[in-house]
């Protein structure tokens, strides 16, 4: 059964909300919201269904968090956005917040933010004021995990925070220079979780940390199953195991297993989608061969099938970034991608076919699908 969906779209030049009908057939745009603001992430709180947070900055000004507590009718700026403490021993200041994560269901009002340079911040008041999480930000190894010269073309980032739905104390981080980090005490202590994850760009190809974890997802029906799209391949880890398995080895050789994101099925622990990006030679990070496609596994990564019906069959050089591929929870499940060329495409049949629902937007950074309020 399907239902009306809202897509929260963050772009390099502002934010938009796309609203569908119950069949997800017709879409209407609202926006631009905050035209000119660089919106890295735009998220709704699943616990109350009406708090919206936006990680924003501009080309000139420092970063902030924009908040709505009434589903987007009115907006205000966070009173104290994420920032390192004054006098930080490493001299850090937040360039931009990259990822916003609602806290555990048992902790209403708690939010987490990941930033560039890598830093973790916590709010206990619905995103209005933020505190530095010193267990990570002042960890004795913080400069090993996040060397000042490390990072992506847009800077070093703590690019993702994942909270175990069974235990508010258990969290994972995905980072661009320390791979995956895990805490079991809600951020007081951390340890790397990267065994058998390859690092093509370091002398030791299997270090304890140093990996670039692009995206991490827990299977919604089995939070012990972790899916990871890494800079160097697609991986899966079933906890309490510690050793990641490179399930991307089963991808077609000519496509490879490089990409930015991975989307698990909301009801099936063995199903997930990836969006492959060309990782050859100069790392163009475009659809391999100019032929856009998602790839789906239905057996935990043992095999993958191509899903490209509806996409351009030639000269389609899509780039889909970390937060710009998502699913809804409908049956059949809907999938959504946002491209750096400003297009949104959707599938209403679990990837079997795709159609464009928006074009001509600025470079898309994030797409989040939520049920209509």
């Amino acid at each position: 059964m399907t239902q009306a969906i809202q897509l929260l779209v963050g772009t390099r030049k502002g934010a938009w909300i796309y609203r569908s009908d119950e069949a997800r057939a017709a879409w209407a745009a609202e926006g631009p919201l905050f035209l000119g603001q660089i919106v890295n992430h735009f998220v709704r709180d699943p616990r109350d269904g009406r708090t919206l947070l936006m990680a924003a900055s501009t080309g000139h000004l420092g970063p902030t968090i924009l908040r709505s507590t009434d589903g987007g009718a009115t907006w205000a700026e966070a009173k104290r956005p994420p920032a390192f403490p004054k006098g930080d021993p490493h001299g850090r200041s937040v360039d931009h917040s990259f990822w916003l994560e609602p806290g555990h269901a048992s902790e209403p009002g708690v939010w987490w933010a990941g930033a560039s340079p890598p830093g973790l911040f916590r709010s206990a008041d619905g995103g209005d004021t933020w505190e530095s999480v010193e267990g990570l930000n002042l960890h004795p190894q913080v400069t090993d995990w996040f060397p000042p010269e490390g990072g992506t073309p847009d800077g070093a980032i703590l690019n993702q925070i994942v909270v175990d739905p069974r235990d508010a104390r258990h969290m994972y981080l995905a980072t661009c220079s320390a791979g995956v980090l895990e805490t079991t005490d809600q951020g007081a202590t951390w340890r790397p979780l990267n065994r058998n994850v390859r690092c093509d760009f370091l002398p030791d190809p299997y270090p304890e940390f140093g990996q670039d974890s692009h995206y991490l997802a827990l299977a919604p029906t089995d939070p012990d199953r972790l899916w990871q799209q890494n800079h160097c391949g697609i991986y899966r880890l079933d906890r309490p195991g510690e050793r990641w398995e490179r399930i991307g080895e089963a991808m077609p050789r000519e496509i490879g297993d490089i990409g930015f994101t991975i989307v698990p099925h909301v009801r099936d622990r063995d199903t997930a989608w990836v969006w492959p990006m060309d990782g050859t030679e100069a790392w163009p990070r475009t659809s391999p061969g100019g032929r856009p496609a998602a790839y789906r596994t239905r057996d935990g990564g043992a095999s993958w099938e191509r899903q490209d019906r509806g996409f351009p069959t030639e000269q389609g050089w899509f780039t889909v970034k970390r937060q710009a591929f998502c699913a809804d929870a409908c049956d059949p499940l809907g999938l959504y991608i946002g491209t750096t060329g400003g297009e949104i495409w959707m599938s209403g049949d679990e990837g079997e076919s795709w159609r464009q629902i928006a074009a001509h937007l600025p470079e898309i950074y994030s797409v989040v699908a939520v049920p209509a309020a």
Binding site: H60, L61, G62, T64, K79, S93
Partner: protein, 87 residues
């Protein structure tokens, strides 16, 4: 009282005003007072380590300020600009 010129990127904080007034004997003090009058403005201009942000330029009269501890003379003027950053 210091006269302050506000760039377009910050007029959302000043109800659209491009010219406002604030008190203070240094760049940082003027920005602190501006932030009291227009909450949130300072953090968009100066980071948490009191560094002027990379794409913001602040002038005391005709002279560019490089740090927030530079003095502002009584009755002087502070001009805030968005530096070259766009596209």
């Amino acid at each position: 009282m210091i006269r302050v010129s506000i760039p377009s990127q910050l007029i959302a904080y000043t109800d659209g005003a491009t010219r406002v007034e604030a008190e203070g004997a240094s760049v940082g003090a003027v920005l602190d007072d501006l932030d009291r009058r227009h909450p949130g403005l300072k953090f968009r201009v100066v980071d948490e380590q009191d560094r002027i942000r990379r794409h913001v330029r602040i002038f005391i009269g005709q002279e560019e300020a490089r740090a927030t501890n530079e003095p502002v003379p009584p009755g002087g003027e502070l001009l805030i600009f968005g530096a070259l950053s766009g596209g």
